[in-house]
């Protein structure tokens, strides 16, 4: 925004106070609002132009003022003008909107990750440290937070109007959204995709806390087990470690350090191992056979909940060395949220 910050503050505060405008509570919000004001300006100018033309001509050329019409065929120059000028304005809007889209949907690499599972009719948030919340989400201000989201049943849509972010939550697919909250407070979380009977009751609250308060909240609401620890326990109880043990003799590939790497499959293709790939490889293993291994892994479709899959993915994500297959892990990416104590999990 290249307008005076003072003017901007005045404008947005005044509008917000008049209840015609949502609070600006994330770093994205002022960017979205700037485009919004531009578009409103465009609309008002366009409307005034059309209005002036209509009323002006109506008065000047009414039957009373102009009893006889003069036939005019058209004018290439005029028509070219009103083709090119709107086109130019719309292209500016396109570029501006595209830049904003990339800003909103490309998370910074240092964002901390929180998982969100949408189900009829609630939001379940899972922090890497193992804190679970229903229809609530606690986040620190001044720090980019990425949500990795999936739906357990139908399409939902995660929307925080005061942050100006929204993203569809889709069954069978991870989607992400990120924001950087700026002002402590509580804000609505809405489900904006119609999802059945209690659609309008699928409302939650995101609470933005100062870093100290967030630290405190994290400590007070821990369940004692991080997602990765839950994942490790699940990994053992489902028998995954029998094949994916990391030994030379094992029947499955070693999972240590696999996250984020490129994997060669038997069908010759190369895939990037990310959350979505890991989830799909657990549910549809026959379609993702690593080169050099037999297609013997059974499907786990229907045996694991989305929450469980998140735990497993988080566990595999955090497996960085062979040694750690036997260990419980700290986390490399979100060291604030994950416990650092070595694990005591026994199968």
């Amino acid at each position: 925004m290249h307008i005076s910050p003072v003017l901007w503050q005045f404008l947005t505060k005044w509008l917000a106070a008049s209840a015609l405008f949502p609070a600006e509570a994330s770093t994205i919000a002022p960017y979205t609002d700037a485009l919004y004001f531009f578009l409103i300006g465009m609309t008002i100018v366009g409307l005034i132009l059309v209005g002036v033309l209509l009323f002006g001509f109506s008065i000047r050329y009414s039957r009373k003022n102009n009893p006889v019409a003069t036939q005019v065929e058209g004018s290439t120059l005029l028509e070219a003008t009103w083709t090119i000028i709107p086109l130019a304005i719309f292209l500016v809007t396109f570029v501006w909107g595209a830049l904003l889209y990339f800003r909103i949907f490309n998370p910074p690499t240092n964002a901390m990750n929180i998982y969100v599972v949408g189900k009829q009719w609630m939001w379940k948030a899972e922090h890497p440290g193992g804190q679970h919340e229903i229809n609530a989400l606690h986040v620190p201000i001044g720090r980019p937070v990425q949500l990795t989201m999936i739906s357990q049943d139908v399409f939902h849509s995660f929307s925080v109007p005061d942050f100006r972010v929204k993203r569809e939550v889709i069954p069978g697919r991870y989607t992400t959204v990120w924001f950087n909250a700026t002002t402590p407070g509580t804000y609505h979380i809405f489900c904006t995709q119609y999802c059945g009977t209690k659609h309008s009751e699928m409302i939650g609250e995101v609470t933005a806390l100062s870093p100290e308060d967030y630290e405190k909240w994290t400590k007070d609401s821990t369940s004692g087990m991080s997602l990765a620890q839950n994942g490790e326990r699940l990994f053992a109880s489902m028998g995954c470690n029998q094949c994916h043990s990391g030994n030379a003799a094992s029947r499955g590939p070693n999972l240590a350090g696999v996250y984020g790497s490129k994997l060669q499959l038997t069908n010759g293709s190369q895939v990037l191992v990310n959350d979505a790939y890991l989830r799909d490889a657990i549910l549809n293993p026959s379609q993702h056979v690593t080169a050099g291994y037999q297609p013997i892994m059974p499907t786990y479709q229907g045996q694991i909940s989305e929450d469980g899959l998140i735990d497993l993915v988080e566990y595999i994500k955090n497996l960085n060395s062979n040694y750690r297959v036997q260990q419980t892990l700290g986390t490399s990416q979100s060291d604030l949220a994950a416990p650092t104590t070595p694990g005591m999990v026994k199968p």
Binding site: V50, R63, T70, E73, K166
Partner: protein
């Protein structure tokens, strides 16, 4: 630029106009003569009656929705009832009112006459279209009577296929059948326009109303089958679980959205293009001028139809489509806005140097221009990627598409009904009453939907049965507006019915308009023309009209 002047010599003498002895309405008598008619004008009247019926059903649900939203609490009905209300409102209004309204009534009535033909190319298929429409309507009513359906008009999977136990298949059948009505109408128009033009009626002498319906017909014929496929897949998924949209069976829930919007975005243009055709006729007639840049307006209809097919994924910007496909669809969406802008300015400049009068159809046309400008420009908000994220799925979108489809389309429909009412019935509507209705409608419309833009930016999601307290004031305003709007819609219903018996006799050409339809008697004969007309003048040639006397119409055997 060529310019010339003329004076009107043959002003209508309405005092002496008499009803013609024989016309299409009294040509045959009895219910069966209507139910088995192959006359495009009678079929148009059948459509007009049935469409009006469904409009008031859809409107009643709109009223119930607005009533529930008067307070933040869910106090009028339970949430699943509310969900059934907005589903029924959407299905009825879109598939049974907006899509068929102008083409099936005004288009059916006028296109053959405007081209100088005695009927459409396939009169019996035309009648079949109406029966299919009614069958679709009956299935919709059946779904309603049996207990309703709560998928929303978008039938989003897997909600519609796996999670709802309402009458989804019945409603899907309704849409499937009504879709074929639309395909047949489109096909009939395309063939008629290609093959049945009178001698001298070249493509660029056709009224812009015909051009607009031609473009819409192409969309109907190419788009509707995709909707039919999508809806059949939903039914199959429900009934036998084929799993095309089910991720647990390897299906893709996003595929449904692609298929559905491939039709349902062009459907917006199926609705609005014929309405734009009406506006061209009305503005030209009441400013007594040829439409400014006739060719550009004709081609902009075609451009809208072509581009209209390449923008569907802008409904899915937040659904995890790749960033780059989002870019492409956003750019194409911006491009489709341009022909609409061209039309608006061409209409405005048609007024320039005209000799303008302000009869009711003209008032509705002005209303259309204002509301459609707002509707179109707010569409640019939604086509703009970053802005769309915040606005989509909120009341902003509700307001936007109501501005386009209700503010635009319905205003155009009312403009057209008033404009051609004298031709269709032989009688005038009461002028001062209808002007009042036009003004009431315009005020009511703005009061209903302007607050919803603000609600949307504040974040109120659509399809919410209950909402946080802070949104109440704007919702109350909106409901108040809806009440005014309802009055605006009831008035024409009453005075038009009244005019059937008591309206002034209209005469052949009460507006002194140039189209072929105005050169024959009102109401027309069953065969439209006693002799096939020869067209030797351009569309909207008011000079020709001024110089013509009754006996100078050129005809061939």
């Amino acid at each position: 630029m060529s310019a010339s002047t003329y004076t009107i010599v043959n002003l209508p003498d309405q005092a002496t106009a008499t009803m013609p002895k024989r016309h299409y309405i009294n040509n045959e008598h009895g219910l069966l003569s209507w139910l088995f008619t192959a006359d495009h004008k009678r079929i148009a009247m059948l459509y007009l009656m049935s469409i009006t019926f469904f409009f008031f059903i859809g409107g009643a649900f709109a009223g119930l929705i607005r009533l529930e939203l008067l307070t933040p609490q869910p106090d009028l009905v339970a949430s699943d009832t509310y969900n059934k209300f907005f589903t029924m409102h959407g299905i009825v209004m879109i598939f049974l009112f907006l899509v068929p309204s102008v083409p099936a009534t005004l288009g059916n009535f006028l296109i053959p006459i405007m081209l100088g033909a005695k009927d459409l190319a396939f009169p019996k298929i035309n009648l079949l279209s109406w029966y299919l429409y009614m069958a679709g309507g009956m299935f919709t009513l059946a779904a309603l009577v049996l207990g309703g359906v709560d998928t929303g008009w978008t039938f989003t999977t897997p909600l519609s296929t796996h999670y709802l136990n309402t009458h989804v298949v019945t409603a899907a059948t309704a849409i499937f059948i009504a879709g074929f009505s639309s395909i047949f109408t489109g096909l009939n128009f395309i063939v008629t326009i290609h093959r049945m033009r009178a001698p001298g009626m070249t493509w660029f002498r056709m009224p812009l109303f015909v051009w607009a319906n031609y473009a819409a017909s192409v969309l109907m014929v190419l788009g509707t089958p995709v909707l039919a496929i999508a809806i059949v897949l939903v039914a199959l998924e429900r009934l036998i679980g084929i799993g095309v949209f089910d991720p647990t069976k390897g299906g893709d829930p996003l595929l449904f959205q692609h298929l559905f919007w491939f039709y349902s975005h062009p459907a917006v243009y199926i609705m609005i293009l014929p309405g734009m055709g009406v506006i061209s006729e009305v503005i030209s007639t009441f400013s007594r001028k040829r439409v400014f840049g006739y060719t550009a307006v004709a081609f902009s209809s075609v451009a809208i139809a072509v581009f209209g097919f390449f923008v569907w994924a802008h409904h899915m910007f937040i659904m995890g489509v790749s960033n780059y496909s989002a870019l492409v669809f956003s750019l194409l969406t911006m491009l489709v806005a341009v022909p609409s802008a061209i039309k608006i300015f061409n209409w405005a400049f048609t007024l320039q140097k005209g000799s303008i009068t302000f009869e009711t159809p003209m008032l509705y046309a002005f209303g259309f221009m204002g509301l459609f400008t707002i509707g179109g420009l707010t569409g640019v908000f939604l086509g703009s990627l970053g802005m769309d994220i915040h606005l989509t799925e909120t009341y902003f979108i509700v307001a936007h598409f109501h501005f386009v489809m209700v503010g635009g389309m319905l205003m155009a429909f009312l403009a057209g009904i008033h404009f051609w009412w004298p031709k269709m019935t032989g009688r005038m509507y009461p002028e001062s009453m209808s002007k009042l209705a036009a003004v009431v409608t315009f005020i009511g419309f703005n009061l209903t939907f302007l607050p919803q833009f603000i609600l949307g930016y504040l974040g109120m999601p659509r399809r919410y049965h209950a909402y946080p307290q802070e949104y109440q004031v704007l919702n109350v305003l909106s409901t108040a507006g809806a009440t005014v709007l309802g009055v605006g819609y009831l008035l024409p219903m009453l005075y038009l019915a009244w005019s059937l018996k008591y309206g002034e006799i209209a005469g052949d050409n009460p507006w002194q308009a140039t189209g072929l339809e105005w050169q024959i008697q009102s109401p027309p004969l069953t065969e439209n023309f006693t002799e096939i007309p020869v067209v030797d003048y351009e569309a909207y040639d008011y000079e020709w009209l001024a110089n013509k006397t009754e006996h100078e119409v050129t005809t061939v055997g």
